[in-house]
């Protein structure tokens, strides 16, 4: 009986951990938003329906973001012509700092400014960076919290498989 109880407890624990680990957004329709971009234009996510979209939430004070962004830019440059779009969402209060960092890093993908933090709330962003992959139908398919060297390979595989769908 004791063994059974402990097994149930263990299962419950594993279940709870798996719920915590997986994002609540995966498999759901990506919440729509519109934000001002670094080029001055307003960009709306739903206007990219039909393309695979990656949203990368970043901030100037986040070290891993600085590492990750040039790698994401490479992916963007490579797959943009086959229906892949990348939207960087900066959550700094002051967009000037973000613009400075974009210039320093020389990235070419559109960067949007979420100074009111409304979009990061919509996407339950609790760590930096957060990378969200959205399929052609507008559904959230993968959510990555944080960045470690090697993640770009994971992104590459996922982008390629979403583009093939």
């Amino acid at each position: 009986m004791n063994i059974r109880n402990s097994m149930v407890a263990l299962l419950a624990c594993v279940f709870a951990t798996s719920i915590l680990a997986s994002s609540g957004l995966e498999g759901q329709q990506a919440p729509d938003f519109a934000l001002k971009s670094s080029s001055g234009e307003n960009l709306r996510l739903s206007e990219y329906r039909g393309d695979v979209v990656m949203i990368n939430f970043w901030a100037t004070w986040c070290g891993p973001c600085r590492q990750e962004m040039p790698l994401l830019d490479e992916l963007y440059a490579r797959y943009q012509r086959v229906g892949f779009n990348l939207l960087g969402v900066n959550i700094d209060d002051d967009s000037r700092r973000a613009m400075k960092m974009i210039d320093e890093l020389g990235v070419s993908f559109p960067v949007l400014f979420d100074s009111r933090k409304e979009v990061s709330e919509l996407y339950e962003v609790e760590a930096m960076p957060v990378t969200v992959l959205i399929d052609r139908e507008g559904n959230v398919r993968h959510v990555h919290h944080g960045y470690k060297p090697g993640y770009e390979q994971k992104y590459l595989d996922q982008i390629r498989s979403l583009l093939r769908e």
């Binding site: 234009e41 307003n42 206007e47």
Partner: protein, 199 residues
């Protein structure tokens, strides 16, 4: 059990007799058989085509049903969330748009911000082409209310432009529709922002 066995035996006998008859026919009627084969292949083809067509029709019907269901759900949700008696809807329209390039609209009701909508180039284009955009929908109590709409964008000579418009309106029983209209005032070469109540 015995009944099933008997019926199985009968079917086997029947099949056997058919095959015997068929074998007898083979030698003298080779051309006829080929013709019959070709006809049966054609019949099978047309049957499969027919089946495919009916399947396609089924899919189309199903799609239509899904769309209808989606529309009904949407309407039902609206009716439940915004009952006609307390419903207030705000629409944005644009006429010409020569002197104003719309960027965003901020709406406050009774001093409280209820909507802040950013327009993309495509959306502005749709407005200029005659589209009307429902920017916000809310529930309001009957009585007097104040609406403040702030329009941001590029004005004449591509300068940053920000203008507000205010309307005091009375919400009675029944739904209320308000239109935020952006027009060009040619005489002054300036945009004009008007809030209208739909009767």
């Amino acid at each position: 059990m015995t009944k099933t066995l008997i019926s199985l035996a009968a079917i086997a006998m029947l099949l056997f007799s058919i095959s015997v008859v068929a074998q007898e026919d083979i030698a003298p009627l080779n051309a006829d058989t080929a013709m019959a084969d070709a006809m049966s292949v054609q019949a099978a083809k047309s049957e499969s085509r027919e089946r495919f067509r009916s399947l396609d029709q089924d899919v189309q019907t199903l799609k239509k049903e899904v769309l209808d269901l989606n529309r009904d759900l949407f309407l039902l949700e609206e009716e439940l969330l915004f009952p006609a008696n307390s419903q207030v809807a705000f629409f944005v329209s644009m006429d010409v748009g020569e002197y104003f390039e719309l960027d965003s609209i901020n709406i406050k009701i009774d001093g409280k911000e209820v909507a802040n909508y950013l327009y993309t180039a495509r959306e502005t284009d749709a407005l200029i082409r005659g589209g009307v955009h429902r920017v916000h929908m809310a529930n309001l109590k009957t009585g007097d209310h104040e609406l403040i709409a702030v329009f941001t964008g590029k004005g004449p000579h591509v300068r940053d432009y920000r203008r507000g418009a205010t309307l005091n309106f009375e919400k009675g029983i029944g739904a209320k529709y308000l239109e935020l209209e952006i027009t060009d005032r040619v005489k002054k070469q300036q945009p004009e922002f008007v809030i209208k109540e739909w009767e």
